[in-house]
Symmetry: C2
Subunit: 395 residues, 2 copies
Amino acid sequence: LSPRDAEIIQLVRTAGAMSKSELARQTGLSRTGVGSRLAVLREMGLLEELGEGPSSGGRPPSLVRFASDGGSVVAVDMGATSVDVAVTNLAAEPLVHLAQDIDVREGPKGVLNTTTDLVDQVLAASPHAAGRLKGIAVGLPGPVEFLTGRPVAPPIMPGWDQYPVRELFEDRYGCRTFVDNDVNLMALGELWAGAAARVQDLLWVKLGTGIGCGIISQGAAFRGISGCAGDIGHIELGGDTTVCRCGNLGCLEAVAGGEALAMRAEGLALSGESRSLARMLDERGSLRAEDLGVAAQEGDVAAVELVRSAGRAVGAVLASLVNFYNPEMIVIGGGVSRLGVRLLASIREAVYRRSLPLATRDLVLTGSALGELAGVTGGGAMVLGELYGLSPAGS
Amino acid sequence: LSPRDAEIIQLVRTAGAMSKSELARQTGLSRTGVGSRLAVLREMGLLEELGEGPSSGGRPPSLVRFASDGGSVVAVDMGATSVDVAVTNLAAEPLVHLAQDIDVREGPKGVLNTTTDLVDQVLAASPHAAGRLKGIAVGLPGPVEFLTGRPVAPPIMPGWDQYPVRELFEDRYGCRTFVDNDVNLMALGELWAGAAARVQDLLWVKLGTGIGCGIISQGAAFRGISGCAGDIGHIELGGDTTVCRCGNLGCLEAVAGGEALAMRAEGLALSGESRSLARMLDERGSLRAEDLGVAAQEGDVAAVELVRSAGRAVGAVLASLVNFYNPEMIVIGGGVSRLGVRLLASIREAVYRRSLPLATRDLVLTGSALGELAGVTGGGAMVLGELYGLSPAGS
């Protein structure tokens, strides 16, 4: 898309239906120029005629509008233990959505087979969208070199280093594919359709099996020089000596990641410190981080304290980042973020205790408004941004 | 300056002398259009005729070039204990430079009186530049609201909160003034003329009485939502219990700031652990952070260990920031950075030990190439960027 075309699309999408002469006025193009651009954009399915607008005397002008259903995007949001796949329209709204448990440690072949099966299913479920597929976005739970679309030494994804994820999707579906760290998709999704409309500088913190952070700087994804900006799971909690799978001591992920919390919850069950967790362990043979949330909701004292200590650990790291980055908003999302209100309260407590007052003066620290749809919404948004230069409607 | 004018200036400045027709070709303007823009820019003193270039047959074309001596900028770089004032040309090169000891805690009136005296002196020393003053930049050692040019609750500057620094300079010198956190000036200076040419994402870490960090994101200063991004001096070193003047425990500045190091050096002198420092304390009655560097150079074991522990503390914080921000380059500057090679070595050691390998793969961690001129060079650069849209030549 040329910059002119992108400008027209963005105008019509944000300002609503518009006449040709209004478009000519706002872009500075001639009416003939606007006409030929519109023909191209209609052909691409991005704009549609709306019929006639109110007349100001002569022939009533025909209006064009953004065709949010004139195309579709496939968005894949892969976590360590599950993958979400959706078809979205050109407003990045998920139309069909499927999720399945996976284990990303089984390596790329099997996991991507499962993923493309899901993609085939969502496309089959929306034949109208399938025929108008514009692009694909894939979020992976680790660092990605955005330009090549390949994972780079992802710590929790053995066998995935340099795997040609982009090529696989482009070959199979015949359309442009963009691969990125999953947290960047989530941050973008929140910007487009969630809690962060009109926010310029955002941290989207994913608390899951791993812990990562999508960074929006001045309205755009910030990836760093090697594509691994936001990898906050291995920031050191000073004074903590928990061993992390990365080999270092006291990493945030080793204390507050989903796997670490499940192990600690089992510890509380086995030691008898938590009756609720002991009962659940008895019933099912193993525990997951979610169980900790259930026990804490029941008022189990040991579970509550474990949730709080996880929140304080996350908050201590975020306090440093608030001093450094002075963001406008921090969104807390991911599976572990659903452990209950005490988690967010403890994160906030630690952030407000240790950040400079000026740095928290304008800070909003909140849960995700999109929840598990943040990733696929952001996937749609990423494709629209990359292909057509579209940015969030509010910005 | 209109975007067109800025484009012409930037072209001529980076590509060298140019003919009118070449400018017309590269900007897409008509020759007449170029001619009228050039007249304006010559009038402003930003461009000059170079005489005639080589002829391609007809009348030899006249060339224009950027008039780096066609105007000047005053740059003020205020630290906690000294102020540097310089006049720079339009290439941000300092022409006259004066420095004086101050105590920023004495409040704005006296300190700014001293400062304007210095400004008057540098202007008197360069009468050619004084007549062509385009703007003033002022760097302060604390958070500044860039839009209003006022300090905001600066921790080490009692009495300065909301003081109208910009108005004071604009009223007295009758030209546009830009006030910013000093570390932002230093980062900008390094980008224009120092170690960071062509760097997009840079952290410039000032180790002085206070500790702060200038952030360059995608080539431009990043200030955060409240203007206090980069305030890393009060990031918590987990496990450390040193009391900081901010009231918290274990702040980086309380362990590795210049004042903290001077106090610790005195401690080593008084306890007899360091003979070198005891001798210096005997001779002068008090110690400064620099003395620690001298003792370490002499091989004094206790002094060496104190320098190393300061380096490790700085490195531990930077390791977190490298994981989060994945910058291309970190520059270490400020008075404390001159404590000797062991300091930089210890910082590097801690950063490489605790950052993710991928995040340090492309990282350059180095000393400042500009030293104490970083701030005033950056002041020149800031005015040129704000007034004329100029960006570093290499970018």
